[in-house]
């Protein structure tokens, strides 16, 4: 047999993925929706998108991102519910609690998937991890409900564990190690590999790599110098063999918030209030991550198509809600005000670690810091937006709490506030 220089260590990484998480949570809560094509969306509107679809809906071609009208055309009986964040919070907390009972090395990748690293926890075999995987599935069924199905993947690195978790959906449990990884590659297409989408697939094919097995057989020089033209090539070389290259902390580049305007409008008061509300939640996120920003960007998308954006960098950093809003409102006022707005957003960039622990020489800076700290403490204790700018009242009524899909940091903040 050919020597692929595979990692032969015992697989000790477990990837857990809740199947069609939000849709499953709704089907768990509403028994008469089980077995039916259904999905959830943030807010029902004529052109809203499905953000999670049940397995029955996926079988009919209704996937995440499909518009309501398309979904109805594919299946006239399709049921669409609005999201209920408290259910998903409950589901997330249960999954996290169960995972943490097995290892302190737990990392949630998003609201519905996470990783347990079993390194350093005594001598464990792949069989032990399989048993733990089955236990976790059982606990989720017991503590949340029998409709909650979990895919479990076990592998020597994060990549292979995730691949294993995607092999048999729903409710699968697979182990990938040096003994069966070649067979797995033989059964897959390039785009089935996590992290290889159309662009990377085309790039690989342009260099004569048409299958995952050929990808594995490609040497590191070819991948690094010609295919990826970066260190990424070497990372892929290692990753495919089961060596860990994905265990790193991501760098926080920006924080922000966007919102599809509930009723498309060019009403300045309404839009300003909603933008102010987004600014307050962005400030909340900024301080939670313990960073300060130097840059601010405000953008708008129009109902007629097209958009507008403006950004500005400042010499000094800022983090209080007042400072952020002062900068945002100045930019926002320059937008073409006659245009009807469909979507608004804000992000802060050029983030640096917070210097709030340092005393300022200037009295007013110190006062603003104390005020912000006091407001954050009140909101932490009594719940988000117990104290808020009066101007955000309209925004607060209209902007719904979003379901964070990427990192779980904002979600953790919301949980803390609850």
């Amino acid at each position: 047999m050919k020597d692929y220089r595979l990692n032969t260590e015992t697989p000790l990484i477990m990837h857990l993925d809740l199947n069609s998480a939000f849709a499953s949570a709704e089907q768990q809560a509403w028994p008469n929706l089980r077995g039916r094509p259904m999905g959830v969306t943030n807010r029902i509107s004529p052109e809203c998108c499905v953000i999670a679809a049940s397995y029955e809906a996926k079988a009919l071609g209704i996937k995440v991102g499909v518009r309501r009208s398309e979904a109805m055309a594919l299946c006239p009986d399709f049921i669409l519910l609005e999201t209920d964040p408290t259910k998903y919070t409950f589901m997330y907390l249960n999954l996290l609690r169960i995972m943490k009972s097995y290892s302190p090395n737990v990392k949630m990748k998003s609201i519905d998937e996470g990783i347990i690293d079993f390194h350093g926890l005594g001598k464990l075999t792949a069989h032990d991890l399989e048993r733990i995987g089955l236990d976790i599935k059982e606990q989720m069924r017991r503590d949340v409900g029998k409709w909650m199905r979990l895919n479990v993947g076990i592998g020597p690195n994060r990549f292979l564990a995730k691949m294993a978790a995607s092999l048999h959906k729903p409710d699968g449990l697979d182990v990938i190690d040096h003994k069966n990884v070649i067979d797995m590659y033989k059964s897959l297409e390039l785009e089935d590999l996590t992290g290889i989408a159309d662009a990377f697939g085309s790039r690989l094919r342009a260099h004569g790599i048409y299958t995952p097995l050929q990808f594995l057989e490609a040497n590191d020089e070819l991948l690094r110098r010609r295919v990826f033209k970066s260190i990424n090539g070497l990372h892929w070389y290692e990753r495919l063999r089961g060596y860990e290259v994905d265990d790193y902390e991501t760098h926080l580049g920006m924080v922000g918030r966007q919102w599809v305007v509930k009723r498309s409008s060019n009403d300045d008061d309404y839009l300003r209030s909603c933008m102010h509300y987004l600014t307050e939640t962005t400030g909340m996120k900024l301080r939670y991550r313990n960073v300060e920003a130097r840059g601010v960007c405000v953008w708008v998308r129009f109902s007629m198509g097209g958009g507008w954006q403006d950004k500005k960098m400042y010499k000094s950093t800022f983090y209080t809600n007042q400072d952020i809003w002062e900068r945002v409102s100045r930019l926002f006022d320059h937008r073409p005000k006659h245009m009807v707005v469909q979507m608004i957003g804000i992000y802060l960039y050029q983030l640096t670690p917070s210097t709030r622990s340092q005393m300022s020489m200037f009295d007013d800076v110190q006062k603003a810091d104390y005020l912000t700290k006091a407001m954050d403490e009140i909101n932490d204790f009594y719940g988000s937006f117990t104290v808020f700018a009066a101007d955000t009242l309209t925004g607060k009524r209209n902007v719904k709490q979003k379901i964070p899909f990427g990192g779980t940091e904002y979600f953790e903040l919301l949980l803390k506030r609850v």
Partner: protein
């Protein structure tokens, strides 16, 4: 499309509190009187907590085998409310 019917009415509820069991199953609503009609609840599908401001609310998703109901128990005022239902679907 969205078959949920919002109700938001106070209801009479008989719940069984089990001596043993975890939080998911210790309190089980088993009968409800709504608009003069008695409804036997046969399945506790999901229970989860939430808050309304500072008030603790326990949400119970239950079913009578045909319809699904969302009941909420206000832990401060000790009242049960039928918040929404999804009727039998064709």
């Amino acid at each position: 499309m969205d078959p949920t019917i919002e109700i938001n009415e106070r209801v009479d509820v008989i719940a069984v509190y089990h001596r043993q069991g975890d939080i998911a199953s210790v309190c089980v609503p088993c009968k409800m009187r709504w608009r003069g009609k008695d409804i036997e609840l046969t399945e506790l599908a999901l229970r989860h907590p939430t808050v309304a401001g500072k008030r603790m609310i326990h949400v119970f998703h239950v079913s009578d085998g045909t319809n699904g109901y969302r009941l909420e128990f206000d832990a401060e005022a000790l009242i049960w409310k039928l918040v929404a239902l999804i009727p039998e679907l064709p």
